[in-house]
């Protein structure tokens, strides 16, 4: 059991709280840096996919996990990022300018969507975001001069200062750098008043308002950050799939993103990463499973979304806090053994909340 003596405010503010953190995250960093040298191109691509999913999931985590606003339309932000980035590249905008532009525009759209969305809650918000995603998909299909419509759109390879990137490992490092930078930004916001305001809005809007938190503004801010990150992921995703088509960014991708953060662990940065790894594994294993299953089942068109839905439901019923929550419980058990209290993680319903006010 580790006992921390706190002698300095910086100890709580610091991202790596103690040497244990430094050791394990250092090791993780070394592992992800060394990975391309260890595995072949197929696995580098799989890892890249996981990193891109993690980035998109991180984006969704900001609005759904931290601010409590369920969005069923985040694939739309990925689509906006992907198409804008590809369009800019095709028209000669350099990669290093085009990618931030994708994040910026996606963020602006997120801001516009958030203004009406900040007045909605729960189911209504989910439906509205779903509608938004369908509108975006339709726009992509019909705006053929820019998006190529149903014919699709080829994506130029990324280029840094005139050097074109074709190798899988080179692209892997670009994605890794973007992901790490984004994680740092999100961790930063979480240790500032704005991040705490997001959590406050998620847990009790009444309480948040009574403490002077501007609820609508906080939600809009969360949407903005979220849409920017997801748009960024979209831009990178465009390079990953190399050919854009509207159906890639449909409802299945939105649900996949939501599944990721729920299964990974809502409300934690770790959750987005774990979720991405799990979804990556799941996609690979479903494609393997398809070969094993009798063709009558294996070739059913709804197999993937069906399985995703099933897993989502099972997690919500049996482990609402996701993989990361399960790991936290295990770690708390080991750290405090034999003084573990089950109630530590129990959902509280023991005291009446002031819900009748609204």
């Amino acid at each position: 059991m580790r006992v921390l003596f706190k002698t300095d405010y910086n100890q709580d503010i610091r991202l790596l709280k103690h040497n244990g953190f430094r050791f394990w995250y250092g090791l993780l960093l070394l592992a992800v840096l060394a990975a391309p040298a260890m595995v072949d191109t197929y696995w580098i691509n799989e890892l890249t996919r996981v990193l891109i999913y993690a980035l998109a999931g991180l984006g969704l985590m900001v609005v759904t996990g931290f601010t409590g606003q369920v969005s069923l339309g985040h694939a739309a932000f990925m689509a906006i990022g992907a198409y804008l980035h590809s369009f800019c590249l095709a028209n000669g905008v350099p990669f290093l300018l085009s990618l931030p532009l994708a994040a910026l525009v996606s963020g602006m759209v997120g801001l516009l969507v958030a203004i009406p969305a900040s007045r909605m809650t729960g189911l209504y918000l989910a439906i509205a975001s779903l509608a938004f995603a369908i509108v975006v998909e339709d726009v992509i299909i019909h705006w053929e001069s820019v998006t190529g419509g149903n014919r699709g759109m080829a994506v130029d390879p990324p280029a840094l200062f005139g050097y074109e990137i074709f190798q899988a490992w080179e692209f892997y490092y670009i994605v890794l750098a973007v992901l790490i930078a984004s994680i740092l930004l999100v961790l930063n916001i979480l240790r500032t008043p704005t991040g705490r305001a997001m959590l406050a809005v998620r847990d009790s809007e009444i309480s948040a308002e009574s403490l002077g938190i501007r609820v609508a503004r906080t939600k809009i801010l969360a949407f903005w950050i979220s849409a920017s990150l997801t748009g960024l992921a979209g831009g990178l995703f465009a390079h990953f799939i190399q050919f854009l088509a509207p159906e890639v960014f449909g409802i299945v991708l939105s649900i996949q993103l939501l599944l990721m953060i729920v299964v990974g662990g809502l409300g934690t940065v770790h959750g987005a990463i774990y979720g991405a790894i799990l979804i990556g594994l799941l996609e690979s294993s479903i494609s393997i499973l398809k070969d094993w299953l009798p063709p009558a089942i294996g070739t059913q068109p709804g197999l993937e979304p069906g399985l995703f839905g099933l897993i989502l439901v099972l997690f919500i019923i049996f482990e609402p806090e996701g993989v990361y929550g399960r790991w936290l419980k295990l770690r708390t058990l080991l750290e405090n053994f034999p003084f573990y209290r089950r109630n530590t993680f129990k959902r509280q319903r023991s005291y009446l909340r002031t819900e009748r006010m609204r």
Partner: protein, 254 residues
């Protein structure tokens, strides 16, 4: 001009008059208590001051500003903090995080600087923590600093909610039944703290309370409500012996 002035305040829910033409004022530096049987409209008045309900008639003025039509978050920014009857803490966060959320209105930094966490943000953050530690010391909560709220007993949560309101550094503190659910010893402590809040921190307190020993101990003035109407106002002894108050609590004896 009074510090807080409530004039002719009314609120009806359909045909029910929850608050009916209530007027009173609170002076700076006093502890003003509202008493009354259940359903008398005490919490409704609080919710109108916090702007969760819009009054159907009347005005609320605070330090000269008319705040009747303000938004809830604006109320806190003007210097009014509150606690809730049924505790509205952020249960999945630690005590420290809960109190830090109370510092939100003192944040002046733009979002992009918070995203980058530059040294200025760090300095501001350390300053917030220093302020929060003062409150933790004041309420003797140091022992629970890093505990999640979900792990803490009711009495401690009650104190934390008081602490969170103090972190806002308000001029006026609204306490909605600060002693409900506390044992006699905790209630006595609550009395000492309310005294200290008034005398040492200079915060004016407007309180709803049923526990008459606490009311007698800390209140400068008391207002009794029944069925949405003010029935007596004055010092605690005067209000308790007022025939209308006795009738409201005990009935009129046929």
């Amino acid at each position: 001009m009074s510090f807080l002035e409530i004039s002719n305040l009314s609120l009806s829910f359909g045909g029910l008059k929850a608050v009916d033409d209530v007027s009173f004022h609170v002076d700076k530096g006093e502890v003003f208590t509202i008493v009354g049987p259940n359903g008398a409209g005490k919490s409704t008045i609080f919710n109108m001051i916090s702007a969760f309900y819009a009054p159907s008639q009347g005005h609320i003025r605070f330090q000269g500003n008319d705040i009747t039509a303000a938004r809830p978050d604006a109320i806190a920014r003007l210097g009014i903090a509150r606690t809730f009857q049924n505790i509205e803490l952020f249960e999945h966060s630690t005590l420290l995080q809960n109190l830090l959320i109370g510092r939100e209105i003192h944040n002046r930094l733009p979002v992009w600087r918070q995203l980058l966490f530059d040294p200025g943000v760090r300095r501001a953050e350390i300053d917030h923590r220093r302020q929060v530690e003062d409150v933790i010391d004041f309420l003797e909560l140091a022992h629970y600093r890093d505990e999640r709220i979900a792990n803490l007993p009711y009495g401690v949560r009650k104190k934390i909610e008081l602490g969170r309101a103090l972190c806002v550094q308000p001029d006026l503190l609204l306490l909605d039944e600060p002693a409900s659910g506390l044992n006699p010893e905790e209630t006595e402590d609550m009395g000492f703290w309310i005294d200290d809040i008034k005398n040492d921190l200079g915060i004016t307190v407007l309180m709803i309370e049923h526990d008459m020993s606490l009311v007698n101990e800390v209140s400068d003035r008391v207002l009794a409500l029944n069925n949405g109407r003010a029935i007596a106002e004055g010092d605690a002894r005067h209000v308790q012996n007022h025939p209308d108050v006795v009738a409201a609590y005990l009935g009129t004896g046929a």
